[in-house]
Point group: C2
Chain length 190, copies 2
DNA sequence: TACTTAAACTAATGCCATTAGTTTGGAGTG
DNA sequence: CACTCCAAACTAATGGCATTAGTTTAAGTA
C-alpha cells in the first residue's frame, strides 16, 4: 500500500512556505523545492499535479496561520473598538514578521474552486464576530468587513513598499484609520 | 547619428501595456513583445536593459493614465464628499475597464530608485487636493490619503476576485465605505 | 521469495531571459 | 555618388524553468 512513503503533501507545502519566507513567493519553484529535498523536480509530480496546486495549498495553510495568529492573540475583555484595534495591530505585525507567509495567504483561489463559499473564510468570520457589538444590519456588516480588510492590507502593502523611508509611521496611520473608520461606521448607522 | 530608428522606448512600453491589457501582466515577456513587433528578443535589448526596466516604465505610464483619467473626469462644482465619491467611482471604473493597465500601475518602483519622492506621486497629490476642504492637519491628511488608497485598491481587488459571484455589489460598498470613511475623518478631527 | 505499486528516476520538449559577437542599412560626409 | 559609421537589427549559445513520458527501484505484502 505504501512503498517508500518518504515525502507527502504537507511536507511539500511546509517547505514551500519556508522558501517563500526566505526568498519571497517567486522563489517557490519546482526546481527549488526539489533541491531543498535533494530530489529531482519530476518526483514532486507524484504528490501534486503541478506548481499551481502547490501554491493553492500554500494559500490555504497561510490563511490558517494568519487566522490562528489573530484568534489567539485577541483579548476578549476589552471594548469593541479596542478589540478591533488589537486585531488590526496583530494583523499588521504578522504580515510584517512573516512576509512570505502573508504573501502566500493572498494567492487567489481558483475561480469556482475554493474550499470556502463567499463570506465563509475564517478571517471574514472573525471580523464579523468582532463587528457584532456594533449591531449593524447585515449589508452594512459586509461593507464594513470589506473596508477593514482593505485598510489592513493597504497598510501592510505600504509598510512593505516604504516602511524604511522617512515619513509618518504606519503604526500611527493604523491607529488613526481604524478609529476613524469605526467612528464613521457607527455614525452612518445611527 | 540615427541609423534605422525603427523602434523606440515609447513604442515598446505602449505595446507592453497592450499585451498586459489583452492577457495580463504575466504575458508581458521579451518573447511576446518581440513577436508582436516581428523581431527577435535580443533586439529589444538595444532599447531597454532588461524586462524589469520595461516593467518599471510600464508602471510610470500606467500611473499617468490612471491619474489623467481621474483628473479630467472630476467635476469641480460639487461638494467635497461628493467629489471624492466621484473620484472613487472613476478609480474603480478605470481599474475594472483596464485591468491590465491597472495591474501595471501597481508594479513597485525599485527601492531608492523611483522618480517620485514620498508623497510626490500625482495620485497622492490629487487626493491631497480633494481632501483640502476638510482642513485636516498635515499628519491626518497623510493618514486619510493612505486610507483612501487602501479602500479603493481593496474594492478593485474584491471586484476582480469575486465580481461575478452572487452577493452585494461592490458599487454599493464603495458608496457606503467612502461615505463612512469621510464621516469618520471629520468626526476624528472635531 | 516473488509480486505489486508508489515514489523515485532519466531523458526530452519547449518555454523563457539574457549575453556575446556579427551583420546591415540609412544618415551624414567628402 | 561613393564612403564611413554606428545604431539596430541579427545568429548562436547558455542556463533557467515547468512539465510529460517512460523506466527503475525499493518497501511492504502475499
Amino acid at each position: 500500500m505504501t512503498p517508500r512513503p518518504g515525502l507527502n503533501q504537507d511536507m511539500i507545502v511546509d517547505r514551500a512556505l519556508q522558501l517563500a519566507e526566505e526568498g519571497g513567493l517567486s522563489t517557490v519553484t519546482m526546481a527549488n523545492l526539489a533541491r531543498s529535498f535533494s530530489i529531482k523536480p519530476p518526483s514532486l509530480y507524484n504528490h501534486f499535479r503541478n506548481l499551481h496546486e502547490i501554491k493553492q495549498s500554500m494559500a490555504l495553510k497561510a490563511q490558517d496561520m494568519l487566522y490562528d495568529h489573530l484568534k489567539k492573540s485577541v483579548n476578549k475583555e476589552v471594548e469593541p473598538v479596542e478589540r478591533i484595534q488589537e486585531m488590526a495591530k496583530h494583523y499588521v505585525t504578522f504580515a510584517n514578521r512573516y512576509p512570505g507567509i502573508y504573501e502566500a495567504s493572498l494567492i487567489a483561489p481558483d475561480l469556482n474552486e475554493g474550499v470556502y463559499q463567499n463570506g465563509e473564510e475564517p478571517l471574514v468570520q472573525l471580523l464579523q464576530k468582532y463587528l457584532e457589538p456594533f449591531s449593524l444590519p447585515d449589508r452594512e456588516t459586509i461593507h464594513a468587513i470589506r473596508g477593514l480588510r482593505s485598510l489592513l492590507h493597504g497598510l501592510v502593502d505600504l509598510h512593505k513598499k516604504e516602511g524604511f523611508k522617512l515619513g509618518i509611521e504606519i503604526e500611527e496611520s493604523r491607529i488613526y484609520l481604524v478609529e476613524a473608520f469605526l467612528k464613521g461606521i457607527e455614525w452612518n448607522h445611527k
